[in-house]
Every structure is written in C-alpha cells, then in structure tokens.
C-alpha cells in the first residue's frame, strides 16, 4: 500500500504562500536558510553581538520583498543577495576611518607575523602563528573598504565561485575578477605599509 501521509509543501509552495501574505509560511524558509545567512552575515560584519539583529533585519527585508522574487534564480542566491546588500550598507555606516590606526596587536603577535611573512611558505604555520595571522588578517579586513571586504569574504572565506559572486552582486564575471584582484592588491599593500611603518 502506498504512503498516505500528505507530502510536505515544497520550497516553491512556501514561497508562493509568503507571496500571498502568509507570514507563517515564512517559518520553514527561515529554518532552512538561517544557518547559511548567520554564517554569511558573521563573516561579512564580524561583530558577534550584532549578527542576530542583522540576520533578523535581512529576513524582514526578504519577506517585504518576496513578492518581487520571480523564481528565476535559486531562492538561496536571492536571499544571499539581500544579505550581502544589507551587510554592505551596515559596513558602510559603521566603517572605521582608514586613517585611524587599529594595530593594537601584541608584540608577540607582531613578531610572529613578521617572521611568518619572511618565511617562503606560510603553509605550515603552528597554532600560535596561525592565531596571530588570523588576528592580523581580521584587522586588515576590518580596515578594508566595504566593497573589498564583501568581495574577499565571498571568495576567500565563503568560497563562492566567481559566477556565484557575479549573481549575488549583480555584476559581470569580468567585473568580479577585476574587483577581486584590486581588493587582494590593496590587502597586500596594506600589509606592506604596516611592515614598513611599524
């Protein structure tokens, strides 16, 4: 005998219900994408205390705009786009001046970065070195312009392909490649400035 249990509505069905104004139908969508959006928002803004509020605002915006979702791209990509735009605005609002110095690293951390930078292969870092490098790069990122930060996070931390990034940011793939190279170059330049200015 066949299984008579009613089949759970598909994602598209939940989306259609949301589009007709059913707020309850948004719950399964939140539950499906919550982890992913938390991760993305955390990596983009890197402020543990603000992440939950930011994610809540992202979902609020998504629900308000859900009637404009036309099923052309995956719902996850559409949601990522809203999340990235929201975080981008947040970063621009909260941006620390590039002039202000943030190098409050410990002496030990600074020494480790220096010695690691001089070694030919930073691949085999020990735990302490790895932590120092992580802290250092986190500060480099915090200081980077919002545009660089978003594109580097999507590529290097979220490991999205150039094609996915182009979809999320609504850009051509060639533009994404150019911006990625520019962002990487700026990070390396900031690193060099730090080494020279220390």
């Amino acid at each position: 005998m066949g299984d008579l249990r009613p089949e759970a509505p598909s994602e598209a069905e939940w989306i259609r219900r949301c589009q007709s104004g059913n707020t309850e139908a948004f719950t399964p969508l939140i539950e499906t994408y919550e982890r992913r959006i938390f991760r993305l928002a955390f990596h983009l803004v890197r402020r543990q205390e603000d992440v939950e509020d930011i994610v809540q605002e992202i979902f609020m915006k998504a629900f308000a705009a859900i009637s404009s979702y036309n099923f052309q791209s995956a719902f996850g990509t559409w949601l990522n786009r809203i999340a990235v735009n929201h975080c981008y605005d947040y970063l621009r609002r909260r941006r620390v001046s590039r002039v202000s110095y943030f190098w409050e690293m410990s002496e030990e951390g600074q020494r480790q970065i220096e010695s690691t930078a001089r070694s030919p292969e930073p691949g085999g870092l020990n735990n302490e070195e790895s932590l120092a490098v992580e802290e250092f790069v986190s500060k480099l990122l915090a200081r980077a312009p919002a545009e660089d930060r978003v594109i580097l996070t999507l590529k290097e931390i979220e490991e999205k392909s150039v094609e996915e990034i182009a979809q999320i940011l609504n850009l051509k793939e060639s533009t994404v490649k150019v911006r990625l190279h520019r962002a990487r170059k700026r990070m390396v330049k900031d690193f060099k400035n730090w080494q020279e200015g220390r």
């Binding site: 719950t27 919550e34 955390f42 690691t116 030919p120 992580e134 790069v137 580097l152 990070m187």
Partner: protein, 159 residues
C-alpha cells in the same frame, strides 16, 4: 613577463607555471608580493574556520511574530491613508458643489420670497432691477433717513 600579470596569476592558482616561477626568482618585488599574499590567504582561511554564533532559541518564531506585527501596523497605516484620502475626496466634492451653486444661483437672492419669484417669472426684465425694487419698496421710502444716517439704507431698514 609583466609583474601585474604574474601577480594576478599567483592569486588565482596554486600551481604556478615554469614561466612564472622563473619570474619570481628574478623579481624580488613579485616574490615579496607572493609571500605577503600567501600570508593574507592563510589568515583568510583561518577566518573561514571560525564558527558563527548560533541563533538564539525561538529565533524563527520571534521573527514571524515581528513580521506579523509589522504587517498589522502597515495595514493600519494603509487603512488610515485610504480613509484620509476618501475624506479628502468628499471634502473636495463638497467644496466644488458649493462653488458651482455659488456660480449658478443669482447672488442677490431673488428666490427668497414667493412673490419675488412670481414677479421674476412674469417679467424676465426685472432681473435688471435693484433688490428693493424687486420686493416692491420704492427708492424714496427711506431716503430722508438714509441721508441722515451715515450707515446707509441697511441701517435705516433695521430701524
């Protein structure tokens, strides 16, 4: 090979072709760039491993409740706008109606008494007469008093 081409290739691939390796051995600027970039990349990889905070308990339910209350508020706002708009339309219509009536009806009020109305209907040329003439008061009826009274004919009529 140009340095900027080499640097772009370095960022994109882990396996470097022999030409680029040869360039790196000859160019200290690019070799420094590679070392720095590798370190930045190592830091980014370490950042990727950081676990994001967990959503607090009941996150989805709270969010849906917030959505519902926001929806209710927006519906109330919409209703208010619709109601205010409707009242504006009614008020405009009323004003327009009053204006039309003001333009259509004679300003001197010839229809105030039935006799006047009859006389108007009987003699159309009476429309050029003064209001006093229309209701049958001769011009001289209060002329002497009017001359004495600086408030004019109206004041005399009240007396």
């Amino acid at each position: 090979m140009r340095c900027d081409v080499v640097r772009e290739r370095i960022e994109e691939s882990l396996e470097l072709p022999a030409r680029i390796k040869a360039h790196l051995q000859a160019c200290s600027g690019c070799a420094d760039y590679v070392r720095r970039w590798n370190l930045v990349q190592a830091g980014l990889v370490a950042l990727a491993k950081e676990e994001p905070p967990q959503a607090s308990l009941g996150f989805a339910e709270r969010l849906v409740r917030r959505l519902e209350s926001a929806r209710g508020a927006s519906q109330r706002r919409q209703q208010f706008i619709v109601e205010a708009g409707r009242r504006m339309v009614y008020a405009t219509l009323l004003v327009a109606l009053m204006l039309i009536l003001g333009l259509v009806l004679p300003s001197s009020g010839p229809l105030r008494t039935p006799q006047a109305a009859e006389s108007i209907l009987a003699e159309p040329e009476v429309a050029t007469m003064s209001p006093d003439q229309m209701i049958g008061i001769p011009d001289t009826a209060y002329a002497p008093e009017a001359a004495e009274n600086p408030n004019g004919a109206e004041g005399a009529q009240i007396k």
